[in-house]
Symmetry: C2
Subunit: 159 residues, 2 copies
């Protein structure tokens, strides 16, 4: 699979370890930064990550920061992204099954490396459950995440 | 405090219990639905909740669904919202301290009611740590969450 990974300065060690492990497992991994030692702003990296998933460069994203909260919020600004902040594999599985999540967020200061890897492994191996849902409820809900009605006037763009 | 709470059908029991407890504690609580027994789509309730926080009707929001993933994604579509999906109080505290979160999300099928209440209590009693951050890093990062650069052409609005 093609996977991109991004973090802030609090999670560069976890980013490096997960990236190396996924490459050993045969995945193609794009590390979007930052390098260890830089102090950065998590939204910059969350937005970069969202873009390469939204434009199809990669299939899935992994978003890391100290708690996972900040970077997960920034990724979810993009209407094509569905980023699940998790700390155990059951949530990672449900995020794929019910929400067709295309990004997983983890908190490097709160979740240990082996638990983080278990979450990522579960996330990557679990399918969206639309086939088991003949009424199409999951797909209908996921579709609504793509067309948010809330675009306030004050919004500005950097592009 | 003025607080709004919303959920999907998987979390109406937790919604009712948290709402009653917060009112007993002296807060003003707006329950945005759904009623027990209805099957609903979580984005509809996440978007409703985001609006009443963004327009200042309430100060904070509580977003509930089965895992917390779906409703947290929908709330975070709004650039004025910062919704943290948590399962323990440390994440709830960090979301206030570092991210100035204005909404907390919980998974009613994964987190027990007493743990959920502890998360909410910690969330409501923790201040944004901008005063302890003379360099203004937290505020700078939070500000970037308000101006997402990613507004793809395919976006449509329901309004």
């Amino acid at each position: 699979m093609r996977i991109a990974i991004a973090s802030d300065h609090a999670a560069t060690d976890m980013k490096a370890e997960i990236a190396e492990w996924l490459m050993d497992e045969g995945h193609e991994v794009a590390d979007l930064g930052p390098d260890a030692g830089e102090s950065v702003d998590y939204p910059d990296y969350g937005y970069k990550l969202a873009e390469v998933i939204a434009d199809g460069t990669v299939e899935y994203g992994i978003a890391l920061c100290g708690s996972g909260v900040g970077i997960s919020i920034s990724v979810n600004r993009h209407p094509a992204l569905r980023c699940a902040l998790v700390s155990e594999p059951l949530s990672a599985a449900l995020a794929r099954e019910h929400n067709n999540a295309n990004c997983i967020a983890l908190g490097a200061r709160l979740t240990g490396i082996e638990m983080a890897k278990s979450c990522v492994a579960t996330f990557l191996s679990t399918e969206f459950a639309d086939a088991d849902d003949p009424a199409g409820r999951h797909q209908r809900r996921v579709a609504k995440l793509g067309v948010p009605p809330i675009l306030p006037d004050h919004i500005e763009t950097h592009q």
